[in-house]
């Protein structure tokens, strides 16, 4: 686990979490809410899956957990905040590229076959 084949599309949970963290640093609940919004309510990350995904992303070096002064101000210590790493952002961008390319192909083919 934790290895991504660079040619394939990134695992969907990873992708959505990275999208959520692309805009801002956030804690688990906020990420889950963001994913729910992104997908129009279609993808609900259940608690165990969400935190396992976050652990895996940390292990893969795509995100880091914020500690000490890096945390947002006024936050008590309970919630863990996460931030996408440069590598994470790069992989997300690459993934998005591939998906866009795939989407383009799909659209072109549908267009040529469409009625």
């Amino acid at each position: 686990m934790g290895k991504q084949d660079s040619r394939s599309v990134m695992r969907s949970n990873w992708f959505h979490v990275l999208v959520a963290l692309a805009g801002r640093d956030a804690h688990g609940s906020a990420i889950a809410r963001d994913v729910l919004d992104q997908t129009g309510g279609a993808l609900r990350l259940w608690p165990a899956t969400l935190y396992r995904t976050l652990d895996d992303l940390v292990a893969a070096g795509l995100i880091i957990e914020l500690v000490g002064d890096a945390r947002p101000e006024g936050e008590s210590g309970r919630r863990r905040y996460y931030q996408a790493t440069a590598q994470g952002r790069a992989e997300l961008a690459a993934s998005a590229e591939r998906m866009a390319a795939l989407a383009g192909t799909a659209r072109r083919r549908l267009g040529s076959n469409g009625k």
Binding site: S29, R33, P47, T49, L50, Y51, R79, R80
Partner: protein, 886 residues
């Protein structure tokens, strides 16, 4: 819905500890965030979904973790884990099957775990004392069944102590209710007078301060007080400063020397007068001033020598009682007999019957669940024969396939056990809420190690059972045959027969449970409808204790009562007001020896009656029915030598004649002239004050104008709660410093008395319905599988011109045959079960026809519905499709 997060938390235990520690709080936060502003149904579904998620992630994490640990080689555990992971994946691909099996197992395991936790907590777990299994309580029995109480005279306790050898130690305690005065609110507290050795006997020590020494427990010594933990925290804010201070108990100053730990609670049989007290006072017992031996007011405990049995102790106690009968005329006259009963057994005896029955019922639910799952697994095993054959053909060893089958059943059972544990945890909370105070020790019930061990044991048994079925199928399976072009589409007769047998057992067991539940429902309905002999609606009661300093004698009590009654009667909506020394359904009361003929007059205590002191007007206000004669007047209260008795005592003492005007000899050991004659002026219908289900103890009523301690009963046409404030205000004005307690309605007392029955009823009903649901699922599964297996046959028949109705009839008949056989067995089982339950039933016989008919009807209806769907499927088979499918 507040219980769901609790069950979910329990489920989190499946996750690896490190993950759980890191994310537990945030996971719970997230889930409760999801739950906000949603309906209960949605939340329930959400909880289920999140549980599956936790179990899945837990499996994945644990397996990756173990892989990380042993990357060097493939050990047995690694293989096993791999199998488990694989099994989990396979099950996830069949969510419907997995869901039904896990839910079925969870219901069975949950029900048995919940009931076992109660059986364990109430019946099995030792009392929290040192050498608790060696502690017994003494019972004294007088006359021929006249009085049989766990109460002994202290003089006799000393005789037992001096003469016993098998019993190594005795100790005793006596109950009082005293007024604890304070600057703010005085209150009535339960007090136990105990010997210095009492705490050592039970293995208790003070948590703060100290306990009394034998030197302090001698006649004439200053009384010393130990506080219970609850009084110490409630009244003194757990302040250690109270140690060494004096408190005012019943007008006497006493020094507080210690506090007992929270865990130390006295557990006693319901018949005992002693209760777990608020505070403990040194006994300082003086044999010289002790009351006669037949005045039994002390609870006495015996501790056996380590090697002794209760049988030996009983023999010894009987022997000493015989000596006492010879030595003391008073014991000879009453034919004293003594028993020593294991304390735990005595404390829980009231709950034992119901718990054993419920445990049996839960066991049935588990068996039904197992039968269901076994059927599902067999069917799925047949359906997967092809898959397994393919795997075998591709090189999987037979051992590997069997391991895989076992792993699947292990995953199913563990998931079932985890969800079942959650169900049990929620149910325990519900049970505690349903019957507070009516089942002894219920508050100490929890999912402890013993219970988890029990759950683990039934889970492992179930897993082995279900795993073995497909494993055996695999072992017997010939890959060539399954893979060959002519694959078998129907099972052999043997497989079908075993499925049918399972289903019949299942239906029969659920019918048995339904009958049990039906009897409980009927019994509870009868109990609720009992006419106890007094009106329970619209009556407020409260307990008043007048302080001795300001109300020293009977004249002051009567004057206070007169004024109070006048004021309360004038309140709006009040229809009547009276008092009684003890309210109905509040436990055993004072028993008074009586005599009405030569035999009873020469054998005192061979007959006795429940004695209550009442204010004139009592019978009217309570709504009791006067059978003969008249009720009390104020003049009777002054004269004091007239009584009203209940119909049963009238029949016992004066059979066949009019009791009114006759004389009864009574005895009151508490007064200087114990024996006196009283004239019967009236007979009232029996009031069920001890047990709603039956008349118990004859009753004798004495008139009183006032009492130092009384239970005020105010009858109102409006809401009783509205009277609390004005009545309290009057009491505060007329008797400042008098504690007012136990403010409740007669209805509440009545409802509380039904608590244990309500719990049994609720549990049996739930078990019955769960069993019905499971059996219906089982029937449905078996029949629709049978239809699917015979698609080709049915297709051919339809092609040959058989009418769809005939096809349907055939499937229904097949189902009907199973249900018919099962019903016969089920009714027989129901008869057996209800015989077992006869002692718990009220107002309905074990052979109650209505219950049997209704339960059978319900089962047949559910079974018919379950048969109908596959029957319709059968008629919809398209012959062309059916034949092409092969």
């Amino acid at each position: 819905m507040t219980t769901l997060p609790g069950a979910f938390e329990f489920l989190l235990l499946a996750l690896p500890a490190r993950f759980r520690a890191r994310h537990r709080e945030e996971m719970l936060d997230l889930l409760s965030g999801y739950a906000e502003t949603r309906s209960s149904w949605w939340r329930c579904a959400m909880w289920m979904r999140a549980s599956v998620d936790v179990l899945w992630v837990a499996a994945v994490l644990r397996i990756t973790e173990s892989r990380r640990h042993r990357r060097e080689g493939r050990s047995m555990t690694d293989l096993l884990l791999q199998d488990l992971l694989f099994a989990g994946r396979a099950l996830r691909q069949r969510p419907g099957f997995t869901f039904i099996v896990v839910l079925t197992l969870a219901l069975g395991i949950g029900a048995s775990t919940a009931i076992f936790s109660v059986v364990n907590g109430v019946l099995l777990r030792p009392l929290p004392y040192r050498d608790a299994d060696r502690i017994g309580i003494l019972w004294h029995e007088f006359g021929d069944g006249a009085q049989n109480m766990p109460l002994v005279s202290p003089l006799d306790v000393r005789e037992y102590s001096d003469r016993a050898s098998v019993i190594e130690a005795f100790t005793m305690a006596r109950d009082y209710e005293w007024i604890l005065a304070a600057p703010d609110t005085p209150e009535l507290v339960d007090v136990a007078l105990v010997e210095a050795g009492f705490f050592e006997f039970f293995g208790a020590a003070a948590s703060h301060g100290r306990i009394f020494t034998p030197e302090e427990d001698v006649p004439g010594a200053a009384p010393l007080v130990l506080l219970s933990h609850r009084l110490w925290t409630r009244r003194y804010g757990a302040d250690e400063g109270v140690l060494g201070n004096t408190i005012d108990l019943n007008g006497q100053r006493m020094e507080v020397i210690g506090v007992l730990p929270d865990a130390f609670r006295l557990q006693l049989p319901v018949e005992s007068f002693l209760r777990d007290p608020d505070l403990w006072v040194s006994m300082r017992w003086d044999p010289a001033t002790s009351r006669p031996r037949n005045v039994t007011l002390y609870s006495a405990f015996a501790r056996l020598r380590p090697e002794a049995t209760f049988g030996q102790a009983q023999q010894e106690i009987e022997g000493i009682a015989e000596q006492l009968r010879r030595e003391f005329p008073v014991h000879a006259a009453t034919k004293l007999r003594a028993r020593v009963v294991p304390l735990l057994e005595d404390v829980v005896k009231s709950a034992q019957g119901a718990l054993v029955l419920l445990f049996a019922a839960a066991g049935f639910v588990l068996l039904i669940a197992c039968a269901n799952v076994a059927n599902l697994v067999i069917m799925r095993g047949r359906a997967r024969a092809h898959e397994f054959s393919l795997r075998a053909a591709l090189g999987a060893s037979r051992g590997a396939l069997i391991r895989l089958a076992l792993a699947e059943s292990a995953v199913l059972c563990v998931a079932g056990a985890v969800v079942g544990g959650g169900i049990a945890r929620v149910s325990i909370g519900l049970m505690k809420a349903l019957a507070p105070g009516s089942v002894p020790r219920l508050e100490s019930v929890s999912l402890d190690g013993t219970v988890l061990l029990f759950t683990a044991a039934i889970t492992v048994t179930a897993a082995a059972l279900f795993g073995l079925i497909p494993a055996l199928l695999i072992a017997r399976n010939d890959p060539a045959e399954s893979l060959g072009g002519e694959s078998r589409t129907t099972d052999g007769r043997g497989a079908q027969r075993s499925r049918n047998a399972l289903i019949i057992c299942e239906i029969a067991a659920s019918l048995t449970l339904l009958i049990g539940a039906g009897l409980m429902v009927r019994s509870f309905a009868a109990l609720t409808a009992v006419q106890p002999g007094y009106a329970t609606e619209g009556a407020l009661t409260l307990r008043v204790s007048l302080p001795a300093e300001s109300f020293p004698d009977a004249a002051t009590w009567a004057a206070m009562a007169d004024e109070l009654f006048e004021k309360v009667a004038a309140l709006p909506a009040v229809q009547g007001v009276t008092f009684v020394s003890q309210l109905p359904l509040t436990g055993g009361g004072a028993m008074q020896p009586i005599a009405y003929d030569e035999q009873t007059a020469t054998n005192w205590e061979s007959a006795s009656a429940d004695r209550r002191l009442v204010r004139p007007g009592f019978f009217d206000v309570m709504g009791a029915r006067l059978v003969a004669g008249r009720s009390f007047t104020r003049a009777d209260a002054e004269a004091g030598n007239v009584i009203v008795i209940d119909e049963f005592l009238a029949e016992l003492a004066f059979p066949g004649t009019d009791a009114v005007g006759r004389t009864l000899q009574t005895r009151d050991n508490a007064t200087p002239e114990p024996e006196r004659y009283a004239q019967v002026i009236g007979v009232v219908s029996h009031m069920r004050v001890h047990d709603l289900s039956r008349p118990l103890k004859n009753q004798i009523y004495w008139p009183r104008a006032g009492l130092r301690r009384f239970n005020l009963v105010v009858r109102t046409s409006a809401d009783p709660a509205a009277l609390v404030a004005p009545v309290r205000a009057e009491l505060a004005r007329l008797a400042p410093g008098a504690p007012v307690e136990d403010i409740q309605t007669l209805r509440e007392l009545f409802d509380r008395a039904l608590g244990a029955s309500r719990l049994s009823l609720a549990l049996m009903s739930v078990f019955g319905l769960v069993a019905l649901l499971l059996a219906s699922i089982g029937i449905y599964g078996v029949l629709s599988y049978a239809v699917a297996q015979r698609t080709r046959e049915i297709g051919i028949r339809i092609a040959l011109g058989q009418a769809p109705a005939a096809v349907r009839r055939q499937v229904l008949l097949e189902g009907g045959r199973l249900v018919g056989i099962a019903s016969l067995i089920g009714v027989a089982g129901g008869l057996a079960l209800s015989r077992l339950a006869a002692g718990l039933l009220y107002g309905v016989g074990p052979l109650d026809a209505l219950t049997h008919v209704l339960a059978t009807g319900m089962l047949v209806a559910a079974a018919a519905a379950a048969c109908w769907v596959p029957a319709r499927q059968a008629t919809r088979i398209d012959p062309l499709e059916a034949l092409r499918a092969e």
